[in-house]
Symmetry: C2
Subunit: 334 residues, 2 copies
């Protein structure tokens, strides 16, 4: 009787052992179902295979398997405007009752009239003014709640989907595939770090401490006898172009072995990543699908991809042709 | 025959299962051997027990178990000077042949004569000048190599031990104990972030991306056709006092549930940590052991512990009495 029980236990034991030993490899084959077979998918799988194979000359210890991802246009869409701009406009509308002076003060007047184009005509100065009016003055925890409430309810103007559904299904699979292979995944985005952190863990599986982005300064002070961090209307760090490697170094302190972007704003991150010793991987998401998403590159004002596309071709980086390489773009599109 | 083999396999299977299921609990009991039994050790174990017990009102999900540690005086010693100051003086001596002008330029002249007191007489300005002369001008990778070479060979003037042996054995155990209980451990130090990162993983088990510290600015540029980050002689961030919560928020993006320090420079980090909702833990290492280490607090120019000691008493934070609470201070002292 006891022996029978023990024998019955054996298959379970074997299953556990097999699971323990082969989980990583077993998962790998199925983790990229939204990617069409071909050169692009193959380049990802080959890179991951060689850096994870012990004894291979390209093997990279797990602690050094750092992968950095741009966000806008790489993990989620960025058309017809960066989504954080929609947040800014919505916040201006929500805050308008407390700011009667905005009725006669540009760029706020135009936003309240619904004229985005006129609001943006003021250029960088107008943008900065709107950003500060909506991102500063509150504590970090108050701002976190504002972002959480907005992201839970706001809808994309064209697709009517929540913004957190405007994420690319193949890239979610890629994030999970890399993590299943011992990579640590980071976001390195020009977007506001505290605009992303409240939802990246749930949506991408990337915890706040692995999100790097642009930021404004904060100040430690007491409010009602409690210590808080107050958000100041002053730029701290703009995480774009040549500042992306700077931000990576400040935050991570080691060079990524793989980097993923979609625009010229990611070029220096890709250069910095691929200039390191040993096996390296750079990938660019090329927006080629006007039907399922948007098609834009060299002349777009948002997510311009020009120099980086040339360099990708010259250096043999992987370029994703969204139309050709992705079975689906968004999870909800079928 | 086959059945016998299978039966022989059972004990191994059981062992594996037990290991898998009970590792965490089994390890916990033995992970603090250098701590004497008593109130201090008990407070640590009780906090960890309640935040890790599922179903407990104080339970904290693993992703939120963030613990931050000061470095100088908390994880390693800081007497008779911050160890980074020894690094600065050694670097000035090593670089002197390339700087003949230092023979007649304070504070360098005094350093080269071995007169530390005179060198430091110039106050903050002299310190900054020495820091920049030794920390800027090279690439991040060149600086990493300089730190690695120094830390591998330099010895503490009193104990003649390598600086990486001047770490507190009970604190190493505490770091490992917290990690075994699902905590993510971070360093939050006034020391230079790139002075710590080259060795914290090996010595503390804390990877570079979990080290927050003071920093100078860096610039992305091409050198000999290769992209590099060059260290500039300009302060970027001073991670001390009220800036510690700022640095924590910038880098981690969530409030720690436990914080560990030893001086007034850690006070705001401890206030910020304990002001959050739910179970919180704050600990101060009080240097009370003139025999095995050093004894200093309210009037020390290095690691002054005055306001934070009062606040610890008022708020019931855990205060480690090094002499009483620690069986040993350094691993090599027996």
């Amino acid at each position: 009787m006891r022996n029978n029980k023990k024998i019955a236990f054996i298959p379970f034991c074997f299953a556990l052992l097999l699971l323990f030993l082969f989980t990583r490899q077993a998962l790998a084959a199925d983790l990229l179902p939204s990617w069409n077979d071909g050169k692009t998918k193959q380049s990802i799988i080959e890179f991951v295979a060689k850096v994870t194979k012990e004894g291979s000359p390209d093997f990279v210890p797990m602690a050094e398997r750092i992968a950095t991802f741009d966000n806008d246009g790489t993990l989620w869409a960025e058309q017809p405007m960066y989504f954080q701009a929609f947040f800014v406009f919505d916040r201006i509308k929500a805050l308008a009752p407390q700011h009667p002076e905005w009725k006669e003060k540009e760029p706020f007047t135009s936003v309240l009239k619904g004229d985005v184009k006129a609001a943006l005509a003021g250029g960088e100065h107008a943008l900065l003014e709107m950003a500060m009016a909506t991102h500063a003055g509150m504590t970090t925890e108050e701002f976190e709640k504002i972002v959480k409430d907005w992201i839970a309810t706001a809808k994309h103007p064209k697709t009517k989907q929540p913004y957190t559904e405007m994420v690319y299904q193949p890239m979610l699979e890629l994030l999970a595939y890399l993590r299943a292979n011992g990579f640590k995944t980071f976001i390195v985005s020009g977007g506001g770090v505290e605009f992303m952190r409240p939802w990246t863990e749930k949506v991408y599986g990337i915890p706040p401490e692995q999100v790097i982005g642009s930021s404004i300064k904060t100040k430690f002070e007491g409010r009602d006898g409690k210590p808080v961090l107050v958000r100041l209307p002053e730029i701290n760090f703009v995480d774009d172009k040549a500042s992306k490697p700077v931000g990576i170094n400040e935050h991570i302190g080691r060079r990524p072995i793989a980097a993923f972007g979609n625009s010229d704003g990611d070029l220096q991150m890709l250069q910095w990543t691929t200039a390191g010793a040993g096996a390296r991987f750079a990938l660019i998401v090329h927006h080629t699908d006007a039907e399922r998403e948007w098609a834009y590159d060299r002349t777009s004002s948002i997510g311009r991809l020009d120099m980086a596309l040339d360099e990708a071709k010259a250096k043999g980086w992987t370029v994703v042709d969204m139309k050709k390489d992705w079975k689906c773009v968004f999870a909800w599109e079928q």
